[in-house]
């Protein structure tokens, strides 16, 4: 009996002790997970803050060499097939290049979770004043506000007015407080302005490559405020029927608000100039222009660079640590692209803007006929071609530096060419004249077709790297030229496959600041009637042209209206059109063109049943000479742009969460 009692007592005692341990250890369950850095660890050291910022830099809305036009930014949330980003580039819808394209691009972009992290930093960092000096804290806050402005810019340029959130919201707050309505478009742009102004005044003077400094903020200011100025200047030309969004100022601005934003552009550009930035140049202007994109020009022309990972021995598939530029713009070949090849093809609409020898001239009847060349190389070997064009494109006969391959391109032959340019130009793939005289080939890749034509033996029909009617739209040329900009001239054979390029992307460079400044000056001159501003604009345009090796432009005193040529809905004076064309020449393939045409509200007029044309070199057999024609690319892909997307529709999923968001009009 006593034994059992003892056993029971021990049992209860044992249970009581166990229970006691459990209860007391409840306090120790409130632990921080060991694998995650908390705010205290990160914010109390410069290294920690850099780590915190690193993630924010990583997700910035930069239209870089991985940007996929209708899938958006390569980001952690947007996976798979980044390699296709190049052929689905905004360059296609901007008319710069032929390629694939789905839809009008720019899908939903609503990165408030990233903005929250920035707001968190801005609110918390002053608490660490014991560790960081006041100047250091202001530098950090300046950098945070630059980053915040960058995120907001990505939204405002798509949607117009958006909810402005500059504090960390408490998730436990009542729903009405959290459902922030949209601010007006004007206020949204001013919010970006205020953040960038603070950044310009407080960020560091210099930074390592890949990080931003106060001049990067100023460069972003010139780009963002130019966007705002254009929107204010041209929004009303669209005549959108006012609805709730326009009436509340959430979408669109008025012309009388444009001058303020253009002025901000000019001030920020001046700030950058005073920081000592300049255009990179060299004795060999063609090479110097390629160096702008392949060399580290920190403190010279580079204002902000996005770097990619070190190239290793294997490609990291679907990783945005690398991009696929070389593989997607060079043709397949030894030492050239090893995957896919040439899927983004420069279009005549862009090529024709450069200073180069004329390919057509008037004959004695006043009709345009193709100019006869002794060789296709005469085009780019001429003094008349600006070195910048040779640094931007590979024309037929140029040599690619890393592989030493000659870019052999020929579109076909004409047995004779008795007619005019009009005879050989069609809004179609072919016509009776072309059928009668033109010979093209279906040669496979790697084959050069040689035929006897009208008794003449050994006539070469196509080039090794194009053009052929077979082979689809990748691998060889579709338009008679390749893109050279951003191609790595020192690439090894292994660095030209998918995900094997790491050439850094120049997000902001001084040339863009000059172009922004010139455009703002000229537009301000038009708005205020101030001729001196218009003249000053061309000082900067001619600096860009001097570096490019192109002739200086003399402003026309009584410019004519050239808007009708692109079916624009407003008149465009020819000096202004020259400034816009200079942007196209300088910033080709840097993902500006689509957004520029969009903010000028001419994208829908230009892109109405638009077909890309090429610079097709043909051999004329009975003359023994070469000509260039501008045939449509063989895939015959027509483009249109829905003008409703000048202000994209607010994402439906966001309206479901926040019914206070008013939809944009015009959709």
């Amino acid at each position: 009996m006593t034994m059992k009692k003892n056993m029971n007592t021990y049992k209860y005692l044992f249970l009581a002790v166990i229970f006691g341990f459990i209860v007391s250890s409840c306090h120790d369950l409130d632990l921080e997970p060991k694998g995650i850095f908390d705010e205290g660890t990160l914010f109390n050291s410069d290294y920690g803050i850099r780590t915190y910022f690193g993630a924010i830099y990583n997700e910035l809305p930069i239209e870089d060499l991985n940007y996929y036009h209708n899938r958006g930014y390569a980001s952690g949330n947007n996976i798979s097939n980044y390699w296709e980003g190049q052929k689905n580039s905004p360059a296609v819808l901007g008319g710069e290049a032929a390629g694939r394209r789905d839809g009008d691009g720019t899908p939903e972009y609503w990165p408030y979770e990233r903005i929250r992290r920035i707001n968190n930093f801005i609110e918390a960092i002053p608490d660490y004043s014991a560790i960081h000096s006041e100047q250091q804290i202001n530098e950090y806050i300046g950098e945070a506000r630059f980053l915040r402005a960058f995120y907001y810019f990505g939204m405002v340029k798509r949607y117009g007015g958006i909810p402005i959130i500059d504090k960390v919201q408490d998730p436990a707050a009542p729903l009405e407080e959290l459902q922030t309505p949209r601010s007006t478009e004007y206020d949204s742009w001013k919010f970006i302005y205020e953040d960038l102004k603070f950044a310009m005044n407080n960020m560091a003077e210099k930074s390592v490559t890949g990080r931003a400094n106060r001049y990067s903020a100023a460069a972003l200011m010139t780009r963002a405020m130019l966007y705002a100025g254009s929107t204010a200047n041209y929004f009303e030309t669209l005549n959108i029927t006012p609805g709730p969004a326009i009436n509340a100022g959430l979408m669109g601005m008025q012309r009388d608000q444009a001058a303020e934003f253009y002025q901000y552009v000019i001030e920020a550009a001046d700030f950058v100039q005073k920081g000592g930035y300049r255009l990179h140049d060299g004795a060999n202007k063609e090479i110097a222009f390629t160096e702008v994109f392949t060399e580290d020009l920190n403190g010279v022309e580079d204002l902000f660079v996005k770097q990619f990972g070190e190239f290793g021995n294997s490609s990291i598939y679907n990783s945005r640590l690398h991009h696929s530029w070389d593989s997607m713009v060079l043709p397949l070949g030894t030492g050239l692209a090893s995957d896919v090849g040439s899927a983004l093809h420069p279009a005549w609409d862009l090529i024709r803007l450069y200073q180069m020898p004329a390919i057509a001239k008037e004959n004695e009847n006043g009709d345009l006929v193709p100019v006869r060349f002794n060789s296709l190389n005469d085009l780019w070997q001429s003094e008349e071609m600006e070195p910048r064009a040779k640094g931007t494109f590979f024309f037929s006969g140029m040599t690619e530096l890393a592989s030493k391959e000659v870019m052999d391109l020929q579109a076909g032959v004409y047995r004779k060419f008795p007619g005019t340019l009009a005879d050989a130009t069609a809004d179609a793939q072919t016509n009776a004249y072309m059928e009668q005289y033109r010979i093209r080939t279906h040669a496979a890749r790697g084959q050069v077709d040689v035929q006897t034509v009208d008794g003449v033996p050994n006539v070469k029909i196509n080039g090794l790297y194009g053009l052929s009617l077979s082979g689809g739209d990748e691998g060889r040329s579709l338009t008679g030229a390749f893109i050279r900009k951003y191609v790595n001239p020192a690439a090894t054979a292994g660095e030209r496959g998918l995900y094997r390029s790491s050439t850094p992307f120049k997000v902001f460079r001084y040339a863009e600041v000059l172009l922004n400044r010139a455009e703002a000056l000229y537009e301000l001159g038009l708005l205020t009637g101030d001729e001196s501003k218009k003249t000053e604009a061309f000082v900067y345009i001619n600096q860009v042209r001097a570096r490019a090796g192109a002739r200086a432009y003399t402003m026309v005193a009584s410019p004519k209206d050239v808007g009708l040529e692109i079916n624009a809905v407003y008149p465009i004076d020819e000096n202004l059109q020259f400034i816009r064309d200079e942007r196209a020449r300088e910033l080709a393939f840097e993902n500006h063109r689509f957004f520029d045409l969009r903010r000028w509200r001419v994208l829908h007029s230009k892109m109405e049943n638009f077909y890309h044309r090429g610079l097709m070199g043909y051999y004329v057999v009975d003359e023994g000479k070469y000509i260039f024609l501008n045939d449509r690319e063989k895939e015959n892909r027509g483009l249109n742009y829905n003008r409703a997307n000048y202000h994209q529709q607010i994402p439906g999923s966001q309206i479901n969460r926040n019914p206070n968001l008013i939809r944009n009009d015009g959709h």
């Binding site: 669209l238 005549n239 809004d427 009708l564 809905v569 019914p659």
Partner: protein
């Protein structure tokens, strides 16, 4: 043994619970409220001249939410619209996207299963008048003049002028439908259009409401085909859709 039975019992109960949730039937009714009507040209009293889907009646189900996503009922070739698959409720309705001056939203339309009829009156930007189609061999010459019922309108107290006229284009079709939703693509090129892109005052210079010029477009047609043709002109408003002439039937003889 006891444990085994307990285990099996638990598993069976669990399985039955899952099974019952599979057999729930979606017992919501399909939407079946109906609304139909005509889009009427206010200046003529006839149905608005349009093509399939060029314009919509935009509707908002206000009894469902205060900020609902809009839906659209396309207006058909004959100017009528009809939708028999709406949820019953109270709607706001507005003709939208079409080549007419902005209209007013009609609020509080009750749409129920017994059906509702709602007509809308709108004023077109342009009328296409004096439409002629002349066939010579295989060349078809189309001509028309433009007239604007109003060259300006006061909307919400603001007087706005008619937007700039953009283009005049031909539309050819091999079916009974003809217009921007049904046309032979080969004719949609800059060679077969009149590019105006100017304000109405420079088209109608003497102010009588009709264009001074008669616009002619000559296009090649094929032997043995019967075409339906019409001409259209558009102005620079949000959607840049076309106002059309009537449809004419052209038979091209085989010899």
């Amino acid at each position: 043994m006891k444990m085994k039975n307990l285990l099996y019992s638990l598993l069976t109960v669990g399985f039955l619970l899952c099974a019952t949730s599979c057999m729930e039937i979606d017992n919501f009714d399909a939407p079946d409220a109906r609304v139909s009507g005509r889009l009427i040209d206010k200046t003529t009293g006839q149905n608005f001249i349009t093509d399939h889907g060029d314009t919509h009646i935009r509707i908002w189900e206000m009894s469902f939410s205060e900020n609902p996503a809009p839906q659209g009922i396309p207006v058909q070739f004959d100017g009528t619209y009809n939708n028999e698959r709406l949820f019953a409720g109270t709607y706001d309705m507005l003709p939208q996207n079409g080549p007419y001056w902005p209209a007013d939203t009609i609020r509080g339309v009750r749409i129920g299963r017994s059906g509702a009829t709602q007509n809308f009156e709108v004023t077109p930007y342009l009328h296409i008048t004096d439409f002629e189609a002349t066939l010579e061999g295989t060349m078809l010459t189309l001509s028309c003049r433009l007239s604007a019922p109003f060259k300006e309108m006061t909307i919400n107290g603001v007087t706005v002028p008619i937007p700039n006229v953009l283009e005049v284009r031909p539309f050819l079709s091999l079916t009974q439908y003809c217009g921007a939703a049904n046309y032979i693509g080969e004719y949609w090129t800059n060679d077969y259009r009149v590019n105006l892109r100017r304000p109405w005052d420079r088209i109608d210079t003497n102010g009588d409401g009709v264009s001074e010029e008669t616009y002619k477009i000559t296009i090649p047609v094929k032997k043995g085909y019967t075409y339906n043709v019409r001409m259209g002109a558009n102005v620079n408003y949000t959607d840049q859709k076309f106002n059309y002439s009537e449809v004419k039937r052209i038979v091209v003889p085989n010899d």
